[in-house]
């Protein structure tokens, strides 16, 4: 017995002898409701695509015409005129990222190894995992505040690349740990058994078997962190200072590309330069995303044995 409510026509019901329901004039048939709903759903998708096209398109179209070798190689002419290029900014960004990665990778990999291989199921481990979860949810301005209190003021590193890098390490550690742990866990168990059967110590197992196998995943994790470091603005705003000069040492201040976009937009009316810098940023991030996707696909393929 089919459910009467799914019948669309009272006449049909009458003809087959089923009791007809009284239908209110306002009730739409399920087919119409479906058409309306699908229209809404498709328009949701279209609006989403429009939003990303408008945002990215606006910045790229406004900015790319302005990017030329001159723009990339001249330093910005000081905080007001908005003239000049972004050479010092690019150098600061690279410097910052390199210092951050140097400090982040050993600690991140070490922690991930611990969580994947060594951690017993006790209170300490749960605490560490809880800490990683909480840290990944803390907003970056709080990291900025922390970095300002600890690195800039208490440790007297002042507004510098070092303070910014240390703050970034704290911010990115959860991301690095999670991604690396995934990579290590993905190594098939047979590899571990084989190594142990040959008499390896745990560390030999890790350093000679697991890490090399997990390497593509680890590299993906590192590149992911590089991408996030370049995007970061709030925590660097309060730890790096706003100087647009070429950084000469770990303790010099600097500006990253994101910060430069912010200063250009707020201080000067050089919106084209801001968009050009934004375009450089977006292109860099697209390239990084692309590399990450490609690497992780290779990583999956290799594990599945199809490489």
């Amino acid at each position: 017995m089919t459910s009467a409510s799914l019948d669309s026509s009272p006449r049909q019901a009458q003809a087959s002898g089923r009791p007809t329901e009284k239908r209110s004039a306002y009730r739409l048939s399920p087919k119409t409701t479906q058409k309306l709903a699908m229209a809404c759903i498709w328009s949701g998708g279209i609006v989403t695509v429009l939003i990303s096209v408008i945002i990215i398109g606006f910045v790229l179209i406004g900015g790319i015409p302005r990017i030329n070798l001159d723009f990339l190689l001249t330093p910005p002419k000081g905080g007001l005129s908005g003239e000049g290029g972004i050479s010092t900014v690019i150098v600061s960004t690279l410097f910052l990222v390199i210092v951050t990665i140097i400090m982040l990778v050993p600690v991140g990999i070490g922690a991930a190894i611990y969580l994947a291989e060594y951690a017993p199921d006790n209170f300490m481990t749960r605490l560490i995992r809880y800490a990683v979860e909480v840290l990944s949810g803390v907003p970056s301005i709080i990291f900025g505040l922390f970095g300002f209190a600890l690195f800039v003021t208490a440790l007297h590193f002042s507004f510098s690349i070092l303070s910014g890098a240390l703050t970034l390490v704290c911010l990115l550690l959860p991301t690095m740990i999670r991604a690396t742990e995934e990579a290590i866990r993905a190594v098939p168990y047979s590899h571990r058994e084989g190594a142990l059967a040959l008499g390896a110590t745990k560390w030999q197992l890790i350093s000679r078997v697991l890490l090399p196998s997990a390497l593509p995943g680890i590299v993906t994790a590192i590149i992911l962190c590089i991408g996030r470091a370049i995007e970061e603005t709030a925590c660097l705003y309060v730890t790096m200072g706003g100087s647009a000069a070429m950084p000469t040492s770990l303790l010099s201040g600097g500006r990253t590309l994101s910060l430069h976009v912010f200063y250009l937009a707020m201080e000067t009316r050089a919106f084209e330069k801001a968009m050009a810098t934004g375009a450089v940023l977006i292109i860099t991030i697209i390239v990084i995303n692309f590399i990450t996707n490609w690497l992780s696909n290779r990583f999956q393929a290799r594990l599945r044995g199809t490489n």
Partner: protein, 311 residues
Amino acid sequence: MFPVAVMLVLVIALAGCAQSAPTTPAPPSPKPPVTTPAPTTTPTPALPTTPAPAPPTPKPSPTPTNPSELSGTITEAGSTTVQPVAESIAAAFMSKYPGVKVVIQGGGSGVGVKSAAEGTVDIGAASRELTPEEATKVTPHVLAKDGIAIVAHKSQTVSNLTKAQVADIFTGKITKWSQIGGPDKTIHVIAREEGSGTRAAFEEMVLPKGAVITSNAILQPSNGALRTAVAGDPDAIGFLSFGYLDDTVKAFSIDGIPATVENAKKGTYPIVRPLLFLTKGEPKGIVKEFINFCLGPAGQEIVAKDYIPVN
């Protein structure tokens, strides 16, 4: 057991950093002060172009050292009002002494006072008088004098305001342009954040005692951001350092006096304040050289382009 010990050691180390003492005060310099030619009281209305009263010791000659000998880095941070002229002077200084690097940052007068007091930077910049409490922590050096202009969008029809009208607009008593002879639109008040020296000077000189800027004001974090905001909004009004005036905004005449550097020098324009460089204690070494350079003929010539020189 051992892992727990490792953790305890790390925690104690971190806690130790948390307790670290603030910057040790710089040892007082034995040399007599040479860099404050003018007393830093409220600015006198008449500013003669003759040099200020002679300091206790003769000012050193502009280039006492061989340009190739000086080297190092000088960091400066603070008032966005001082920032452009500081950058110009820094560029001139660096081309003269190629071994020195001068780094200029912004942040607002509050940043300048705080960073100089804590020793985070070598020189702090402020665009207002120091409070008595601040004066115990840093030594001021008057670099220039600067006027504060009241600005609006360049399409604004109103051209002149009385000081009382300005005060009423910014405290929120006057809310529509029609009340002062303009179109029937709401006035959008744009001001600076509280740490701004420009804001503090404006409040002290224009607003009646105890009055505050209306809480409906949009706050921008620097002179440049304020100018950008005013230049984009036809109904906006704000206050801006003279050095930032350009053709994107229109400056009102106050009580009939146009906002020009000449009027500020003459003393007829009513809103003028000092621009200060702040150091923790007496400056030494390349910092001293830089400040001497700023106060010497080369530096003051650069100042005179948009501001009022003190020498």
